[in-house]
C-alpha cells in the first residue's frame, strides 16, 4: 500500500509563458507514515498534492513522470484513478470556509460522500456522519450534523472537513496547509487530531506546509522543496539536527523560535527564481553562500540510506554558526 511519485514534471502554459511548476519530483509514503512536504510559495508543494489527486487541469499538464498506488498507475485513463481518488487517497484543503458549501448542512455534505462513494442509504449515511463528527472531536454531533458551515467556528469547520476526508476509510490523507488559516491555539488542536487519526486508523499522511514548527511535531519524514524539486528528504530528527542542503540550513536559521533568545533575525538574501526561466543549474545557487561553478549543472537527487539530497556539496555548512547579539 504505497504511494509512489517518480520524476514528476508539471507545467502550466500561461499567457506570460510556460511555468515549470514541478521539475522532477520523487517521493513515496508507506502506511502509517507521516511525510511533511515543506517549501515556500511557488516551490511546487501544492501542485504535487494536486497532481497526486488528479486535480491538475488545463492550462496545467503532467508532462512526464508517474504516480502509482499499489504499483498501478493513477494517470492512465482506465478509471483506476477515479476509483482511488476520494476513497483510498483523500485530501483536506487550507481554507475550510471556501471548501465547504455554505448552502448545505454539514451533515448533508458528509452524507453526499458516503452515498456517492460507498453506496450507503440515506439513514446509514446519516448515522455514519454523526459517528464521524464525534470521531473528529465535535461535541453534540447529533445537533451539529444539521447545522450549516456558518454556524461552525474555523477550527470546527476544519474538523468537519477532516471528518469528510476520512469518511471512506482512506489509506492516505493529503493535508494541504490544513492549519494555516487557523489561530495558533486551534492549530495545535487540529494537529493533535491528525496525529490521533494517524495512529488510530493507521493512515499515511502527507502534510504540506510552509511552517517548520508544524512539521516538527507531527511528521516522521520531511521533504524540502525548492523551485519545483525536492532538494532534501530525511527523517525529521535528522533534518532539524543535521540539515544537509544549504537551503534547508537557511530555512532553519531564518525560522524564529520562541525558545531561543530574541536576537536579530537571520534571512536568506534574495528571492526564489522565477519558474518561467528555464535553467539547467541548481535553482538555489543565486542565494547560496557556497555556490561554485559546479552548481551551474543540476545536482541529481542522490539517495544514501534514508537520506536523499540534491546538492553538489551536501552537508557542508553554508552559513556561519548562529551568533548571539
Amino acid at each position: 500500500m504505497t504511494l509512489t511519485v517518480r520524476d514528476l514534471h508539471v507545467a502550466f502554459e500561461t499567457r506570460g509563458g510556460r511555468v515549470n511548476a514541478l521539475r522532477g519530483v520523487n517521493l513515496s509514503v508507506a502506511p502509517g507514515e507521516t511525510l511533511g512536504i515543506v517549501g515556500e510559495s511557488g516551490s511546487g508543494k501544492s501542485v504535487t498534492a494536486q497532481a497526486i489527486m488528479g486535480l491538475i487541469d488545463l492550462p496545467g499538464r503532467i508532462e512526464a513522470g508517474s504516480i502509482t498506488w499499489n504499483g498501478k498507475s493513477l494517470l492512465e485513463g482506465d478509471g483506476y484513478g477515479t476509483s482511488v481518488w476520494g476513497r483510498e487517497i483523500s485530501m483536506i484543503f487550507q481554507d475550510p470556509m471556501t471548501s465547504l458549501n455554505p448552502l448545505m448542512t454539514i451533515g448533508a455534505q458528509i452524507c453526499e460522500v458516503l452515498t456517492q462513494h460507498l453506496g450507503m442509504t440515506a439513514e446509514q449515511a446519516r448515522e455514519r456522519a454523526v459517528d464521524l463528527l464525534a470521531a473528529v472531536g465535535i461535541s453534540g454531533p447529533r445537533r451539529r450534523v444539521d447545522q450549516y458551515p456558518h454556524e461552525f467556528s474555523g477550527g470546527m469547520r476544519q474538523r468537519a472537513m477532516i471528518a469528510m476526508s476520512i469518511a471512506c476509510n482512506p489509506k492516505v490523507l493529503i493535508a494541504d496547509e490544513p492549519t494555516t488559516a487557523l489561530d495558533v491555539t486551534v492549530q495545535a488542536q487540529i494537529l493533535d487530531l491528525l496525529a490521533e487519526l494517524q495512529s488510530g486508523l493507521g493512515l499515511a499522511i502527507i502534510l504540506i506546509t510552509h511552517d517548520l514548527g508544524t512539521v516538527a511535531g507531527l511528521c516522521q519524514r520531511v521533504a524540502v522543496m525548492y523551485s519545483g524539486r525536492i532538494v532534501e528528504s530525511q527523517s525529521v530528527d535528522a533534518i532539524f539536527e543535521r540539515p544537509q542542503h544549504p537551503y534547508t540550513q537557511g530555512l532553519l536559521r531564518s525560522t524564529p523560535r520562541l525558545d531561543e533568545p530574541a536576537t536579530r533575525l537571520l534571512s536568506i538574501e534574495g528571492t526564489p527564481p522565477s519558474l518561467m526561466q528555464a535553467d539547467d543549474g541548481c535553482a538555489f545557487r543565486k542565494r547560496c553562500p557556497i555556490a561554485a561553478d559546479a552548481c551551474k549543472e543540476m545536482p541529481p537527487l542522490v539517495t544514501e540510506g534514508a537520506v536523499q539530497i540534491a546538492c553538489h556539496f551536501p552537508g557542508r555548512p553554508a552559513w556561519q554558526a548562529r551568533q548571539a547579539g
Binding site: 515556500e40 510559495s41 467556528s153 474555523g154 470546527m156 489561530d183 495558533v184 491555539t185 492549530q187 495545535a188 488542536q189 494537529l191 493533535d192 510552509h210 511552517d211 517548520l212 514548527g213 508544524t214 512539521v215 516538527a216 511535531g217 525529521v236 530528527d237 532539524f240 537557511g250 530555512l251 532553519l252 531564518s254 525560522t255 524564529p256 523560535r257 520562541l258 525558545d259 530574541a262 536579530r264 533575525l265 537571520l266 534571512s267 536568506i268 538574501e269 528571492t271 526564489p272
Partner: protein
Amino acid sequence: MTLPPTLSVENLTVSYPVRAGTFWRPPTFLTAVDEVTFAIAPGETLGLVGESGSGKTTVGRAVMRRVNTSAGRIFFRGEEITQMEGEPLRKLRARMQLVLQDPYTSLNPRMRIADIVAEPLLVHGRVKNTSEARDHVRALLDLVGMPADAHLRYPHSFSGGQRQRVGIARALALEPDLIVADEPVSALDVSVQAQVVNLLQDIQQRMGLSYLFIAHDLSVVRHISHRIAIMYAGRIVEIAPRERVFAAPVHPYTKTLLSAVPIPDPKIQRTRKRLIPLGEPVDLANPPPGCRFQTRCAFATDQCRVTSPPLLERSKGHVAACWNF
C-alpha cells in the same frame, strides 16, 4: 525634559453596529475593542498580539482615526486627537502611516513604483508633481533596499517581499512619527519575513520613529517589539516588556497562546505540554460577563464569572488582568 508618548490610548472602546434598529427594536452593537489602554514611547515598538477577532486590527484603525471611537481618548504626542476633524486631521495623518498585510492588494497595479511612493508627497502638497519628488523617491527606495531601476517598474514585476518594501517606502515618505503595521509579514515566506522585520528595525534605529506592530505570530513579534500587549476578545489581558512575556507570563490566555506556538525542533515539540483552551471561541456579539476568558479558562472562579479583572501591575512595566494569578 521627557517627551510625551508618541501615542497613548485611554479606555478606547469601538463598537460596530451589526443590526440596524427599527422603531421597536434598538440597534445591536458588537464591541470589537473594549476599554483598551496603552502607550507607545518615541522610538519604541509595541507588539499587539491576538487571534482573529481579538480586535487588534480595530485598535490600529481607531488610533489612525479610520474608525470612530465609541468611548475613550486617543493622544498623539500629547495632543488629544479623539475628535479631531478637517484640516488638523489631514495634517495629523501625514504623521502616522499604515503598512498593510497583503503587498499584493495594497499596491495599485496600474501605478509605477515611483508614483506609488510619491503619492503621499503629492497628496500632502509636499511636491507639485512626481518628477519633483524623484530624488526623494529614489532615496526612499534605496533606503528600503529596492534595486536602482525599480522606480519605473510596476508592482507585478516584484516579489511579495519587495512589494512590502515598497509599502514601507510609501509609509516613510512623509517621515511619520508612528507607523501602524498590521500583520506586515504574515503573507511573506519565512526566509523573506526576516528581511522585512530587520528592515523595519534598521529604519527605526535610523529615524527614531515608533511602531504599533500588529500580528498574530508571537515568534515574529518577539523579535521586533520592545513591549508586547496580548489581546483577547476586545480586551488587553497583559502588557509586558518582551522578555517578561515569555519568561514570566501571568494571564492564563497568554500562557495558552505561548504553549500553542510550535517550536521547530522535533525533540522539544513532541514532549511539550500544551494548554488547550476549553470550549468554543467567544461570541463577541454576546460576550460572557466578567472576564472575557472565563468560559475557556481552566482556573475560572465565581469572581471571574461576575466581575471583570482590572489590569494591575505585577512588576515594573508588566500589567495583567486576572483575579487568580
